[in-house]
Structure formats: C-alpha cells, structure tokens
Symmetry: C2
Subunit: 150 residues, 2 copies
DNA sequence: AAAAAGTAGTTTCATTTGAAACTTTAATCC
DNA sequence: GGATTAAAGTTTCAAATGAAACTACTTTTT
C-alpha cells in the first residue's frame, strides 16, 4: 500500500528551521546595530563590504551583499547623511558612483567588527574546529543547492 | 602588538550566510505555495500544524510556528475565508477558538506535503544520512545558542 | 461581588519593503 | 551621428509588517 505522508513535523522541516534560526540571529544583531550605532542590517553589510573593498558601486555591492538596488539606494542615502559614506563620481560613468567609507565610517566599522565577530564566536562557542569546518561545508552545499532549485 | 581585526569577510560571516540561505529557500517556497495554492508561509505553517494538532488555538500556535499573534490572526482570517479552516468556539473560554482544518484544508495539506517534502529532499539530496544527522545536530545547537544570546 | 488586573485575539497606524515606473547617462544599431 | 536600446540609481506606490491600542472576555484581589 502506498504510504503517503499525512503530516509534516514543522520543527524538523529544514526551511522552517533555517528561517527561525536566521530570524533569531538577525533580530539579535539588528537590535545591537540599531541601538548602538543606528545602523540597519543593510547599512552594516555595505559598510563591512566597503571596509575591504573601497570604491565599489551600488551595482557591484548588490550581489556581494545580497541586497536589491532599492535597499542599497536607501541604505547609501542614510549612510551619506550620517557622514559615514562618501560618493565619488569619477567612474567614467556618470550614472554610478564609487563608494568610500569616510573617517567616521571607518571608525564605526572598527567598532562593530569586534562585536560582530564576538557574536559569531559565541554562536559557535561549542563547536570544535572540525565541526566548524563541517558546518561551513554544509552551508556552502545548501547554498549551492538552493541556488540550483529554481 | 594587538592584532585587531580591520575587516570582516561578509560571505563567511555566519549570520549573513544563514540569512541569505533562508531567504533563498523561503522565496522559493513562498513562490510555490503562493502560485499553486494561494497560501502565504504563515498560512502554510498553520495548516501544517493543525494537520497533526487539530484544535490548537491561536495562542498555542504562536510558539510552535514562530509567528506573532497579529500574523496568526490575519493568516487565520484568510484561511477561514478560503474555506480551509474552521473556528470552533467551545473552549470554555469565549475569547479564544479552537482551530480545525476543513475537508478542503485537509486536502490542501495533503497536496502540499509531498511538495514540501520533495523540496527538502532536494536540498539534502547530496547529504549522506550521517551528514544529514550531523546537520540536524548543528542546527539544534545553533538554535539553542541563539536562543541563549539575549 | 465589585473592582482591578490580566489574557486572547483584532484593529489601527506608522514603518518597511520591493516591484514597477521613471530619470539620467551610456552603448549599440542602422 | 541620430535613433534605439540598455543600464545605474532613484522615486513612487501599493502591499506586508509589527508595535501599540483596543475589545471582549476571564481571573484575581479585596
């Protein structure tokens, strides 16, 4: 007889678990970034990226930060207003601007990195180096697979 | 000399990776549920829960589905309107209602479960049973740790 | 047993989000 | 080289979200 599955146990359903986990983590971090630095997650990602890749344009940031261009436009606007980012229109293409952290932006980043790092370390505190590597590997594979599945 | 970290590599930052991964997966599933059944993720979760736990109230659903009461209220309203859910006010407490799938709701669930299961199977297609178990274990630990961290 | 405090679920309202339209500039076509 | 198509970012608008206020009830207190 055909053993059709008649129910699905939500707490073990991978998409649910991942959404719940990433939601908890994001809320934690968003609260930290917001209260301590008045930064959104999108802004934090952009600042982090520009820290190691100064001069990126909005278009280049999009895939690296997994943000759409509307979010980037708004985050950049806020970062410029708060004095942490500078737009330089010297790309050879006057539609886009190269983005750079200001002094203030650089110092914000320098303050956040240890906090972000510490949070990640706490999450992984009970993982051995081997487990950590295993997790890393699993996430890469899931990412690639999710990317494949339409 | 104090070796402060001056940059953070976003693609390897666990919170970013989890958000990205769960975002991809949720968008995939949301698109499926929405086009095939006109269901949101919240509605799907509620239907899935009621499939195995008929008679839950909104309050009881909240922690099980990781949904807030506003989302539940709205999802339940839509599910009742679409004829998939029934509210029975016989709790002894006239503020709350026990929720039950209708015939239509049950049959929707029966249609979705194989799709959801198949999607999960595809995500994990290249994981051996041992790896699958390892992943499961990792997610549980991360979940517990994230719960701990404020 | 009336008043006060608490709970379940809904509604309101202000904010966030993202798709689509738009503006400006650049590249390609004839 | 003028016309067409495309690209980078911005703005607009409508829908999704969620905190706070609200309604209807229930429990606790005195």
């Amino acid at each position: 007889m055909n053993d059709m599955q008649r129910s699905l146990y939500l707490p073990r359903f991978l998409p649910y678990r991942l959404t719940k986990l990433s939601g908890m983590i994001s809320r934690n971090l968003a609260a930290k970034y917001s209260t301590m630095f008045d930064l959104t997650i999108a802004e934090w990602r952009i600042v982090a990226l520009l820290g190691s890749n100064p001069g990126l344009t909005a278009r280049e940031i999009a895939p690296l930060a997994s943000l759409d261009k509307v979010s980037i436009s708004r985050a950049v606007e806020r970062l410029v207003k708060s004095g942490r980012l500078e737009k330089r229109k010297l790309d050879g293409d006057r539609r886009s601007a190269a983005l750079y952290l200001t002094e203030a932006g650089t110092s914000t980043l320098a303050e956040i990195i240890p906090l972000a790092q510490r949070y990640e370390d706490q999450l992984l505190a009970e993982f051995t180096p081997e487990e950590n590597e295993q997790l890393d590997h699993f996430l890469n594979r899931l990412d690639a697979m999710a990317d494949t599945l339409k």
